[in-house]
């Protein structure tokens, strides 16, 4: 068998044989570091697009149904997520859920469905503890800002001094995209202040989940600092 050296062919082969790609048509070897990085980048791009679409769906739901009904809807979403989590932890296979987790869940997730459950719970927290317009802004920032931060930050070169895993490009992408989306419901100065504060919070290594850290930080700014 002739050896095919192109990176693209290796990526195709690795995808055919599975994520870890222990065995490829070219022998029992893992893909090279470059191939792995490319696959990881592809995965993150898809994941962040899904994240932003999901957030967009939450926002549209909120705008369509109003505050009270949306709270019930999000609570139902959290309930479904918890039920699925129980099934997964009990060892059950849940066909559609398994596919979605395989495609979009990070391997570093602490429990199955962490991202989705935290997302719903964070959105519910924002809706129950903040006025409707602020809650919408928070949900929009989590959807758009976090997504742009990852998409742009992955290609960034200027690493943050306090967190070597994040870049200035990602930080600024978060800030400007968040300010833009939040200013649709809040005054621009307020949006910019929240965008800056949440962009900074997102860069901290808190060993937690951004889908929860960002709403909690925003609520703390609103209630404790009085940033309105």
């Amino acid at each position: 068998m002739s050896r095919i050296n192109s990176t693209k062919a290796k990526i195709r082969a690795a995808r055919i044989t599975g994520r870890k790609a222990r065995q490829t048509p070219f022998g029992n070897s893992r893909p090279s570091l470059k191939v792995e990085r490319t696959m990881k980048a592809d995965f993150e791009y898809k994941r962040q697009l899904f994240h932003m679409l999901f957030g967009g769906l939450l926002l549209i739901t909120a705008l369509f149904f109003g505050r009270e009904n949306t709270m019930l809807l999000y609570a139902f979403g959290v309930g479904v997520g918890i039920a699925m989590l129980h099934l997964k932890l009990s060892g059950s296979k849940v066909p559609l859920v398994d596919d979605v987790l395989e495609r979009f869940e990070r391997k570093s997730a602490k429990f199955p469905g962490q991202g989705a459950i935290m997302y719903f719970a964070g959105a519910l927290l924002a809706l129950t503890f903040a006025p409707f317009d602020f809650a919408l802004a928070i949900i929009a920032i989590v959807a758009v800002g976090d997504g742009f931060a990852t998409l742009v930050g992955m290609k960034g070169k200027l690493v943050l001094s306090w967190n070597r895993k994040k870049t200035w490009e990602g930080f600024l992408a978060f800030m400007f995209s968040s300010a833009a989306i939040a200013s649709l419901v809040l005054p621009f100065s307020t949006s910019l202040a929240y965008a800056l504060a949440l962009a900074a919070a997102e860069t901290l290594e808190l060993n937690s989940d951004d889908n929860m850290v960002l709403p909690i930080t925003a609520l703390a700014l609103y209630h404790i600092i009085g940033l309105r």
Partner: protein, 143 residues
């Protein structure tokens, strides 16, 4: 009086005992004991602090209720927060299908008695779930 009303009134008048019994049952029966215990205590403290901070009236301040209206503020519901922690603690264990309905019934009973609004209950549950999830993440990180 039906059984549910009697049970809801019992939970109301004996709330300290009932909540303490739930807490201890969870510590004994559930797997993630440390996360559960820590989350329970944190949820209690945070919800009581928030009740003082928000100082929101209960619905029974203006409308009739099945029990005398508590004097403390009502947002968020402490019962709902602790019930949510109890529910989350049971996730993944064989007690889930007992604990989850029990937690939801306790939370609903507060609306039924007229001492909390649905929004106050949802806020309590959101708080309880958040506190538990954050504790769980932190505990696993320490491993």
């Amino acid at each position: 009086m039906d059984i549910f009303t009697e049970a809801a009134i019992l939970v109301h008048y004996q709330n300290v005992l009932v909540l303490l019994a739930l807490f201890l049952a969870g510590v004994i029966l559930f797997e993630r004991k440390k996360a559960y215990a820590q989350a329970g205590i944190m949820a209690l403290i945070i919800s009581l602090a928030m009740q003082t901070y928000f100082n929101a009236a209960r619905p029974c301040a203006e409308l009739a209720s099945l029990v005398p209206c508590p004097t403390e503020a009502g947002f968020p519901s402490v019962h709902a927060a602790l019930a949510a922690v109890f529910l989350m603690g049971s996730v993944g264990s064989k007690w889930f299908f007992v604990a989850a309905p029990l937690a939801l019934v306790i939370a609903y009973s507060r609306i039924y008695l007229g001492v909390h609004t649905p929004g106050q209950i949802l806020a309590g549950m959101a708080l309880g779930i958040t506190v538990y999830l954050l504790n769980w993440l932190h505990m696993r990180e320490k491993k």
